[in-house]
């Protein structure tokens, strides 16, 4: 592999690596605006110029592959500094100085570079170019355009051409007047439309749903996995003060590169829906608030007393929760357990190699349930399952299948006592005799197995709302109350370790190495996105 010296640091990188990525490995941040690791290289912005020893002129780092013995100067070269200053001055000639009211501030490549390297003066005395009518235009259902801020990097255009393949965006007109538009100004309805705001290095394209809801620097990012379908896109939960504000893509070349589809991305706010905050017990038709201790003691008796026990699990639950449920309800209590699944809308995602991944499965963890040997059933078989008699029904996720909210299902659940985990308002709450508040994905920890077979870890962003607990913990508490010490595992990591030793589908996997590690181990995520 070629060895290259960048600002005095020697790194060895695979042949074909460009200087921006090589420098990243050497710990040198070469600035860029138009370059994106998953888009074609156009060399438009010129800010990544570096000095290469032996070359007469400065070269753009994005389009220069490393060669063995290359000596590159970026921050240590006066020529480079001068050239970048000039580029910045041109870029800022027309860029509005509206950072205080721009929603991109804090995650803006132009602002960052201007702040660290730019000058605080300009030669520009003319009136700035503006695009009347395009300062606050709704380009599509999710994207707001402010053309005045555009630096013409063409990342959004290349995204629609190369990644989402709709080629829905283009430059209209040319030169100083060029602006981003769709064909004939039609709505920008690309299913990946919000990614164009991710790749936009400035505030020209912003996401309608997130605009002005939270300043970027207030947000904390927690690694997680998209719950929207079985592809399992890696994402960050961006949150502040126990509220989820958005999902942003987390880089994973094998799954979603740095993309998210609009459907998955806008599930973010659904994590804030927490209506069930305390354990509730129905006595004579009325729900009464009880403590976890009381609930667990009473439930332990109810569960042990049930001669026939049936459990409706869910392909939305983590591997750890499903494993605990299977061990407790099936292995230990000899109950019956099914995992209802229903086909979802067709979804797709492009990985880092440019291959499409497809899913028609609305659940993030059907593959995990399959690997645990659980019985996956459709709505029809779920109905048959509920038609059978049982002393106690346990519903681990009322949203597991739409059938559970039908009048028929509710009628069947009324027949015998039902224990349901609940987070949001759901019709099953009307018939359940026990309701236990369960945490959302943002407060849960565990792993999902994607349809591609990746076991991917998600981390808790903040503690659950009210007295809610993560599903795995509710099962652990129940196991403890029933005296099943083998399942009294105090963390998802411990559950995973137990699962990895017992289950073929998980053998050899180590919790610590499942990704989702500390945020600092990733490429600075705002800047590749």
């Amino acid at each position: 592999m070629p060895k290259v010296t960048i600002d005095g640091t020697v790194v060895e990188v695979p042949a074909g690596t460009n200087l921006i990525e090589a420098a990243r490995q050497a710990g040198v941040a070469i600035p860029y605006f138009c370059y994106h690791p998953y888009l074609s290289i156009v060399g438009q912005c010129r800010i990544c110029m570096v000095e290469i020893e032996g070359a007469p002129r400065l070269a753009i780092a994005c389009a220069t592959p490393v060669t063995d013995g290359m000596v590159v100067r970026s921050e240590t070269s006066a020529r480079v500094k001068e050239a970048r200053d000039a580029v910045m001055e041109f870029l800022l000639a027309n860029h509005p100085l509206d950072c205080p009211v721009c929603d991109q501030a804090g995650e803006c490549l132009l602002q960052d570079h201007s702040f660290t390297e730019g000058r605080d003066t300009t030669h520009m005395v003319e009136t700035r170019r503006t695009f009347p009518g395009l300062e606050r235009r709704l380009l599509g259902p999710h994207i707001v355009q402010n053309q005045n801020r555009c630096i013409h990097c063409s990342r959004c255009i290349r995204f629609t051409q190369e990644i989402s393949e709709t080629a829905a965006l283009t430059y209209k007109s040319r030169g100083n007047h060029a602006f981003i538009d769709t064909f004939d100004g039609q709505p920008f309805t690309d299913p990946f439309s919000a990614c164009t705001a991710d790749v936009c290095p400035v505030g020209a394209l912003t996401i309608r749903e997130f605009r002005f809801r939270k300043r970027a620097w207030k947000l904390r990012s927690t690694p997680s996995v998209c719950p929207g379908c079985s592809i399992g896109c890696n994402l960050w939960i961006d949150h502040h003060e126990r509220t989820v504000y958005r999902f942003t893509p987390r880089e994973n070349p094998a799954v979603n590169a740095t993309w998210l589809c609009d459907f998955g991305r806008f599930l973010a706010e659904s994590l804030n829906e927490t209506h069930c905050l305390h354990p509730l017990h129905r006595v004579e038709g009325q729900l009464h608030r009880v403590s976890w201790g009381e609930a667990m003691r009473a439930l332990a008796l109810d569960v042990s007393a049930a001669r026939t026990l049936r459990v409706v699990a869910s392909a939305n639950l983590s591997n750890e929760t499903l494993f605990l449920a299977r061990e407790l309800f099936v292995r230990h209590l000899k109950g019956e357990l099914v995992v209802p699944v229903h086909p979802g809308e067709p979804r797709r995602m492009k990985n880092g190699k440019g291959e499409w991944l497809y899913s028609r499965d609305a659940h993030p963890n059907s593959e995990g349930a399959r690997r645990l040997g659980l019985e996956l059933v459709d709505g029809e078989r779920l109905a048959r399952f509920l038609y059978g008699a049982a002393d106690l029904t346990v519903i681990l996720d009322p949203t597991a299948h739409p059938y559970l909210s039908t009048a028929e299902a509710l009628q069947l659940l009324r027949v015998s006592p039902t224990l349901s985990l609940a987070r949001t308002n759901h019709p099953t709450a009307e018939v359940a005799s026990w309701l236990l508040p369960v945490a959302s994905l943002a407060s849960d920890e565990g792993t999902f197995t994607s349809s591609g077979g990746h076991v991917q870890r998600f981390q808790p962003a903040f503690s659950p709302a009210g007295e809610a607990r993560p599903a795995w913990q509710i099962l652990q508490l129940l196991a403890r109350a029933m005296g099943v010490s083998a399942l009294d595992l105090d963390s998802p990591a411990a559950v995973f370790a137990a699962m990895a030793t017992k289950e073929k589908g998980f053998s050899g996997l180590e919790w610590e190495r499942l990704g989702g590690g500390s945020p600092s181990t990733y490429r600075e995520h705002q800047h590749v996105g």
């Binding site: 629609t160 051409q161 709709t166 080629a167 829905a168 965006l169 283009t170 430059y171 209209k172 007109s173 040319r174 538009d181 769709t182 064909f183 004939d184």
Partner: protein
Amino acid sequence: MRTVAIHAVPEEQLTHVTFDATMEERISELLTHYPTRRAALLPVLWLCQERYGWIAPGVIEAVAARLGESPAFVQGVVTFYTMFYTSPPARYVLQVCKTLSCAVCGGRELLEHLKARLGIDLGERTQDGTFQLIGVQCLGACGSAPVIQINDDYYENLTIEQLDALVDELSQGKEA
């Protein structure tokens, strides 16, 4: 020399364009000259402008479908080049050269004369839809300045008298 008037097809007739046999034959022939379909975009657009008088959004969609490009991409190309008409042009588009050689040889006077005579400004058209006045950059005929291009034809070494005669002829519907 005969200057052929432009007959711009009205937009309402261009909402759903299907290429007729002649067009299809010419497009297919054009495609044989290029390695990719995208490479034939400009000549196909020229062909369309010749056939329909201008490049309506409906024409863009038809071209995009024929060449396997997105309408947005094709529209980007159309709006990049100023010589594609994105609105129906007048029958005669007077393209007055505004660059140096013509300007010093009387081009400016020609332009002012046209403005006064037709009662329109640059970029505008006469009410009857006969003339449209636009200023263009160098037409590459500096040796015979001042030059005005009308539709596809050059009129060189023009004097105001010649120009007046020309405009008279054209406005009488005769093809000069």
